[in-house]
Symmetry: C2
Subunit: 141 residues, 2 copies
């Protein structure tokens, strides 16, 4: 599970540029439609390798095929490799509903059902803040 050195910078750039690209594609939409979620997932240890492979496949297909999937960004705990957190950003509730109907999501859901020890889908808000304006301003300097 160790990250290859040359891949790690790509992760950041790719994840972040994906967000940027998708954001520009969704500028016409109400920004308040956007959905932020952190999925909290624990996997039975004996299924970890199989689960990891299927999650990779599902995340890749979602990002590749669905404009409304702004990001699916999976992380796992250093202290417990069986515990995952996925930062999910969808352009809208409709985009999320469409995601649930895709063959790749259905395959992921069905094939990992017996691998999942616990699952919690936690809907989040972003802190609305002057911080954000400062971050944005910083980029213009």
């Amino acid at each position: 599970m160790k990250l290859r050195t040359y891949i790690k910078p790509l992760i950041i750039v790719a994840f972040l540029t994906t967000g940027l690209t998708m954001q520009s594609q969704t500028q016409g939409k109400e920004a308040t439609d956007m959905m932020f979620r952190i999925s909290e997932i624990e996997i039975f240890p004996e299924h970890l390798d199989a689960y990891t492979a299927i999650l990779k496949e599902e995340a890749a297909a979602s990002v590749r095929l669905e404009p409304g999937v702004i990001s699916i960004f999976p992380l796992y705990q250093k202290e417990d490799l069986n515990v995952f957190r996925i930062l999910e950003i969808y352009a809208s509730k409709e985009a999320y509903q469409a995601h649930l109907q895709t063959p790749h999501f259905k395959h992921y859901k069905e094939s990992t059902l017996n691998m999942v020890k616990s699952l919690k889908l936690v809907d989040m808000n972003v802190l609305d803040d002057s911080v954000i304006e400062l971050i944005f301003k910083k980029q213009k300097i």
Copy 2:
């Protein structure tokens, strides 16, 4: 706490461009040095407004003043406004150690000590994955 409509797209763009800019600034470093963390924080309800103000200030100062802070991205649960998750990305362990010594972090830490009901600093790895390569490839099309 409701997000203003015009701010939300800025959040994504600003957060993500910050990551991009900082990534380009840190390309000379070992990528494996990077630190990913999700801080899990619960606040005593009576201190929520004060805590939110101080967190905003601290996140803004960190992003504005510290090149090694790639991102501090605070979210809070829709179902429980007292529960925060902060996605933190540092360029290196040294950048994180330097962050701990800044006046703005020390102020945040000291002034919120009695506001925090629980705190868990969870170090994470990014899933090393062909997904990432696909996402990256997507951006080049």
